[in-house]
Assembly symmetry: C2
Homo-oligomer: 326 residues x 2
């Protein structure tokens, strides 16, 4: 039987010495009571933890390769939302059984994305129990460069990266809330299973954007956190929200609902002064990431949803909450 | 109903500004995509993650105050085993429901111990799901000061802090493997529910001890990690192992078994040169932590268990493994 130590050694310990140049920041990796890091001198550390629970954040029979990717992607997305550069992460894993096929695929998905972002697995924990994956990620950024939620200013443009709503559309099709042809469903599901963390965009927006966060529970709820922290209001141009390529083919009602309150988008929502519009477009180009201007920060408290004629929309939407949502 | 954000705000956000002097290392705490830390200049970071699962690491009806204490204690113990000073931690929590009484008691146990060790809760995640608690802890230490598993040298003494086996004895009584009177059971159970992380001892042993780790899965198994990493062997004086105060009253057979392969002890096992015996005793005094010399590091591979006449014992014990143990 596969022991805890064999499991870690076989699937999660990478031979970095062979694959990457020596990096003196990594003093000690997996295998001791703690990992040891030498942070880059003068840099600030950004730290975030996310826990993904089977049946809650993913289907119990989820493809383990995609699941490995997604677990790390949602954490990288938190670093992106602060403008931090990925450094290292720990993985705590509760598994019903030590299944070799599952572990091989999961670790490939996880470590593949880690390699792409040069983010090293430095430690963690494995135990037997209901499937639960908890990652804590560490990134670096210059002091005072962080894109914080409390930094939006009246007059800022509001921007969003990529497109919204296809992940929620795929979920709706899984839940039989609506019909979607097989090809469309598969394409939308890519957005649900393999989110792309906007790390390069977050870094490119340092010194340009004011506030930022990543959209995980739905745009209006998450934007609400920026408004509350920054003590400002906002107007959103609902019909200018960039819908995902499959959601674009659906009704206006569905498009509005899933772009505004979809969830699982992992796009960056950020604010920036009007004078920085060219700089934002340049950051978009550098990071090869589409951005769209979707509204304004106002002094009037609250969030106003406007249609294409700038008339108010009353949509009665709410964001996902882990304890009050079904 | 208690929402995810109310839950965090009400039970886990502490007003440090009121309770502790300003500390410029803490740039941003709970409430953004990431926490931000300014590590002390020139210090190394020690990082560890532990995941505790209901029914596996604790009883589903465990006292939430004690559980809050224990979750952080086992992480502090990992820092202690490296000789690191606690700095900050993240908490990821999966809960079947947002129960106010449970959360109030759990957060009191957790944050009480955090305050004792000046270790700040800086972020985390809460979600609905089977009860699972994952803490990632960060500590600081001078470069090259870490007490690593691979640093034991032939000729070193082997030492253990505190006493061993009472936690395992309490578990045996819960499992009805043996009879224990109520008072004894309660007293032994304190060791199981409220382990004392040996943080002050770990720090005091910097520059004195060679290798160290904390005993969580049982002495012989955990000491085996030092032997493997350091490529050495060892002799243990089994009858000199410091048994817990309740275990002392039990049979020699039980005392040997539970001191050698108990688990959940959270004591430090460390090696130090013979020339450092006085310095070890001084570290013990400074940290107000009992230490006992229990064996030697040898060049001959393997672990030899010796009785009081230095005769080999063959006890057929093994350490706990999360995937091969029942």
């Amino acid at each position: 039987m596969l022991s805890e130590f064999d499991l870690i050694k076989q699937y999660f310990v990478q031979d970095y010495a062979q694959n990457s140049p020596q990096d003196s920041r990594f003093a000690l990796g997996i295998g001791d009571d703690c990992a040891l890091l030498n942070p880059s001198q003068g840099m600030q550390l950004a730290i975030s933890s996310d826990m993904l629970v089977s049946g809650r954040h993913f289907f119990p029979d989820a493809d383990p390769y995609l699941l490995g990717h997604k677990c790390l992607a949602v954490n990288l997305s938190d670093l992106a939302a602060m403008g931090a550069k990925p450094l290292a992460f720990t993985l705590a894993l509760s598994l019903p059984e030590a299944n070799r096929d599952w572990l091989a695929a999961f670790s490939q998905g996880l470590l593949g994305l880690a390699k792409t972002h040069q983010c090293r697995l430095i430690g963690g924990d494995t135990t037997k129990g209901p499937l639960n994956i908890c990652i804590t990620i560490l990134g670096e950024l210059p002091p005072a460069a962080a894109l914080r939620r409390d930094a939006a200013q009246v007059g800022d443009d509001i921007w969003i990266s990529g497109t919204l709503g296809d992940a929620r559309l795929a979920l709706a099709a899984y839940w039989k809330e609506l019909d979607l042809d097989e090809t469309s469903h598969q394409q939308a599901a890519i957005r649900m299973h393999q989110p792309t963390p906007r790390v390069a965009l977050g870094i490119a927006l340092r010194g340009i954007a004011h506030a930022a966060l990543d959209i995980s529970d739905g745009l209006i709820g998450d934007l609400g956190h920026i408004l509350a922290a920054s003590k400002v209001g906002a107007s959103l141009y609902v019909d200018e929200l960039p819908a995902g390529s499959i959601l674009q083919t659906q009704s206006t009602k569905l498009r509005r609902e899933f772009t505004l309150a979809g969830g699982d988008d992992y796009e960056l929502c950020f604010t920036a002064p009007v004078a920085q519009r060219d700089a934002v477009m340049q950051a978009s180009k550098i990071s090869n990431t589409r951005v769209t201007r979707i509204g304004n920060i106002d002094s009037e408290p609250g969030l106003r949803l406007l249609d294409q004629n700038k008339q108010p929309l009353d949509l009665h939407l709410k964001s996902f909450d882990h304890f009050t949502s079904p």
